[in-house]
Symmetry: C2
Amino acid sequence: MFSTSCHYALQAMIYIALRSGKDKNVDLASIAEELDIPKHFLSKILQLLVKNKLLLSMKGPTGGFKLSMPASRINLIKVVEVIDGLDVFNRCGIGFKQCDDSSPCPIHFEFSQVRQQVEEIFETKTLEQLTTDIEDGNSLVSLGLSTKIKK
Amino acid sequence: MFSTSCHYALQAMIYIALRSGKDKNVDLASIAEELDIPKHFLSKILQLLVKNKLLLSMKGPTGGFKLSMPASRINLIKVVEVIDGLDVFNRCGIGFKQCDDSSPCPIHFEFSQVRQQVEEIFETKTLEQLTTDIEDGNSLVSLGLSTKIKK
DNA sequence: TAATGGCATGAAGTAGAAAACATGTCTTTT
DNA sequence: AAAAGACATGTTTTCTACTTCATGCCATTA
């Protein structure tokens, strides 16, 4: 559904939301290593996110990346918008270029309803919700990202 | 969501369902031209569909392609299965490889519910339903594929 | 102020999907 | 049986997303 660049961006944003703070940056190497993403490639993606004001970057020792605003104000769709653009949510399921509401393909209405649900999910979910979920040990337990110790 | 090969396959199957009959084949050149698909590329895709028993092909003059079974028995998912494989319906929305029911990503359950709906659509819709829809002038009118003349 | 650790940027390389090409083989028709 | 029309097959080329490499630039810290 999304490009790998977009997947990397989403994963990195989640990671940064988990690990950075007001006065704490996360450095590229750590993100790349823990998420198993090619470092230099990730670098370009993060630069895009910086340019589009979702991230802040600092150079020098103690430098790195952090969110540009509270995690509660960043929803997933903002990330997708920067990397893949919003019309991923608007493509015909069968690949007809001319397919839209006024000239629908045979599955257009069923399919666009589902697409709308995906958009809704990405619109609704904020980084804050995701990190809470992870910190509580409800998600991504296998990655060991939770900061809480589960008994 | 699907590869272009898969889109081409779906479009071609619909076209063949519309234009072929028990004793009537449709030739590659016509399909490629009307659907605006590179001919030689389409050729390989159709060969895959032949190998996987969704199409029959005949050589020689009057040769071409036709469905291997009634349009009512071919649903869209069979086409997707041959070209892209079924695990397109099973991928994590954020791209985490280890994401599944037992080790979910933070949007796993919402997302897989939606994926299931897509699968449902492709499972339910048969080529017969689609062609009926098109012949009645309810879909793809712009392609001019309908055989009926609308007043 | 020099050394170090980090991001920024542009160019170059790779792999796989997509497309084009050339040739072979089969089947109908005359 | 020969010609022509169609699919079949294998090779090559192109394109693009993805990845890597090399270098420049900036900020902290000793």
